[in-house]
Amino acid sequence: MTTAGKFLTGTTAGLILAALVGVAPAVAHHSSTPFYDATKKAEVQGTVTKFLIRNPHSFLYFDETTPQGKVEWQIELGTAASLTRTGWTAETLKPGTAIKVSGQPSRAEGSHGMCCARITRPDGSPIMQGGRLTEEQQPPR
């Protein structure tokens, strides 16, 4: 695994690494443009409530604690295939795990969503070290 890869986590890492090593990308179900604002960035800390590895999109849900109460965030991730190929499982982000997420915020008024997210522990360290497919599993070039 590359040095860069070790410090890139979450979907971003998965996708970039997947792309760099040539794993068939399994996103591209829809454009992110109508849903998320690529010109803005959101960064939020919270506690995982639900991690769904599904097709066509996986989703991570977490609660942010604010002075006004809890806010539920919905983070759009890649397909089940893309996540599992990069080493993620349902156990990777168990309910109760503290995380920090940065990414493109959702556009709808009052919504709390992100895509194209970088997910780390609150101190910025990776969620997991390594944990991805090995060279021999890649499709031939």
Partner: protein, 266 residues
């Protein structure tokens, strides 16, 4: 600037990707072939041991194929329909495109994509060739298209999302012609909001070049297009041991992104 998850992948893959500009090779005139007796849907297929078909000699394109970012630019607003080959819409097509609302795109309810989009989805595909048919299995949305190589004809019962496909071998290529599609609000392209109608006809030409599977797709739909539109693409081979995984689209997460979008209509 539009930035998509697909674009992120495409960016990362840039070094490995080359835009496929290849054109379908010229093929000789279709050779005369013995005529097979007309068959009806539901008839027992001919012997699977027969290596040839009634319409020409078999061209081997079987196997599992990678249609992901290593093979070609990932689909987006700009692929496979680029500035050079973007379809010329008629007034009806332009009107539908103008009123299109992303929220009602069928894909957010696990409805699979159809030709000509399904061939360009960035996922894996398997081709299985039998004497009387060719099966195209798509990893995304668990879709299977059957291309009949015999002389059966479609009935009114054959209108469907993937239409009715018949094919034949011609020179070094498999030619597939599909019609009997249902109206689909994103049936031409689900990134640019272009529909397709029951008048849609799709012709695909598959051939192998080196170790790659190539295809030129041409589409006609006079209900929405002023003239046919076409693109050429490729797949890369996957290891023989690779097996397609079940997609099992989840309705809940399929529609989940929609609430993040500013509604077009209130």
């Amino acid at each position: 600037m539009k930035i998509t998850c697909a674009a992120l992948i495409a960016l990362g893959s840039a070094l490995a990707i080359q835009t496929v500009q290849a054109q379908a090779p010229a093929t000789p005139a279709r050779p005369a072939a013995p005529t097979a007796p007309a068959r009806q849907a539901g008839d027992r297929p001919p012997s699977l041991a027969d290596p040839t078909t009634a319409t020409g000699r078999k061209v081997d394109i079987s196997g599992t194929w990678n249609g992901g970012g290593r093979a070609r630019p990932v689909n987006s607003e700009n692929y496979p329909w680029t500035k050079e080959n973007f379809p010329v819409l008629n007034e009806r097509g332009l009107a539908y495109q103008k009123v299109f609302d992303e929220a009602l795109a069928p894909k957010y309810d696990c409805v699979p994509s159809t030709s000509p989009a399904i061939q360009y989805d960035p996922y894996n595909m398997q081709v299985i060739q039998w004497p009387d048919r060719v099966l195209f299995r798509y990893e995304k949305d668990d879709q299977v298209r059957t291309v009949w190589l015999d002389d059966r004809q479609p009935t009114v019962q054959d209108y469907s999302l993937q239409g009715f496909s018949k094919g034949h071998y011609e020179g070094n290529a498999l030619i597939v012609e599909t019609d009997h599609f249902l109206f689909d609000i994103t049936g031409f392209d689900d990134y640019n909001g272009i529909p397709s109608s029951q008048m849609k006809k799709v012709t695909e030409k598959y051939w192998k070049e080196n170790n790659e599977l190539k295809m030129t797709l041409t589409l006609e739909d006079p209900m929405f297009l002023r003239q046919p539109a076409s693109y050429t693409t490729r797949w890369l081979p996957l290891p023989a041991s690779y097996e397609l995984t079940a997609w099992e689209c989840d309705p809940e997460t399929s529609r989940a992104p929609v609430k993040m979008m500013v509604p077009k209509y209130k």
